[in-house]
Symmetry: C2
Subunit: 204 residues, 2 copies
């Protein structure tokens, strides 16, 4: 895939796609690296360097073509290619909030299953996708060809579930817990812990 670019570049390109999407919706046709600098805080040099890794050019003397650039980046990082099937594990308040979240709508990501340890919760909670007890984790992930998991279980259950997910060959785990997970390759973890975030912010 897109390992032909550095990690910082990849992170910026991903954000760029979202930004370009907004520009596009506002009817903006071109955008310069300078404008993007003002919007993002990254220098225009860095932005141009990032864009230069793309296999195709879409520049003009007025800047980059917004729609084309968005597509080129998306293809490069294959963000939009195929549907990416996800599940939520832990349907407590946080899990339920995520289930409710409509931001997945226009994206390549689709929640196709939810899991919880409580049979009662599985039976009563109403969601757009089916819910299962966590004992069915392996079966359903295989059956539904699920690639990504959003982990919203209590902290002390997190590593156990993560192990099972890695075992299933899940590609990525979005970790909402404060647990510092360790999983086997090639599964990856992306941490979204509020605690870590606050610590990070306060350490300046």
């Amino acid at each position: 895939m897109a390992s032909a670019c550095s990690k910082p570049t990849r992170e910026r390109l991903i954000r760029l796609v979202r930004m370009l999407d907004t520009y596009e919706k506002n009817g903006k046709e071109t955008v310069s690296s300078q404008e993007l600098q003002n919007r993002t805080g990254w220098t225009s040099d860095t932005i141009r360097r990032d864009i230069s890794v793309l296999p195709e050019s879409c520049s003009s003397p007025q800047g980059y073509n917004v729609s084309r650039l968005k597509i080129i980046i998306s293809n490069f990082l294959n963000l939009s290619a195929d549907e990416k099937r996800c599940c939520i594990i832990g349907m407590g308040r946080l899990g339920a909030a995520l289930a409710d979240y409509n931001g997945f709508a226009g994206s390549a990501f689709k929640i196709v299953a939810g899991f919880d340890s409580s049979v009662n919760r599985v039976d009563t909670l109403v969601t757009d996708f089916p819910l299962y007890t966590v004992s069915k984790l392996e079966t359903i992930i295989k059956q539904e060809r699920i690639e990504y998991a959003i982990l919203a279980v209590p902290e002390d259950a997190a590593q156990g579930v993560a192990n099972r997910l890695a075992q299933c060959g899940i590609k990525g785990i979005v970790n909402y817990t404060a647990a510092l997970l360790r999983v086997a390759e090639p599964t990856r973890v992306y941490d979204l812990s509020v605690m870590q975030a606050l610590l990070q912010l306060s350490s300046y």
Copy 2:
């Protein structure tokens, strides 16, 4: 403060503190850079280099003293020093889930206020801290000396609230929305968007 260390180092040290905390609770007295490598995936070289930025040493031929190291890092990044007052903005499902989260208990962070645009929700939701309508944002932040904000409002309201927060001189914003915020210095933003996380994971 602790700008005497690089950003990657700071990020790792923060995680290290949490890890050391776990070791400490398990009664472990010393830990070597090699053990930490196995736990984290960072190389022992990097870990030793990180630790070497600390103003004080706590090493022995058996490795680092777990408790001492934890304290030295915490002081260095002043993570534990004083109480850090936080608020949650947007008391929808996500905000309510965060209000419920007990991970703040042992930490330096304390949620002292919540805000929502709905008067009804402010009146009915039960939390450990007082709730206010979002119109009182500036007043309460000043009055309660709030330094950090957790943003859990709908995406299209996010930038507006962020502007007001920056105006108040808030130190940091934990952004749970998918909005790409731009705020004035010295306010900082830490993004916790599930979308960004999934995109990041799938771009490999």
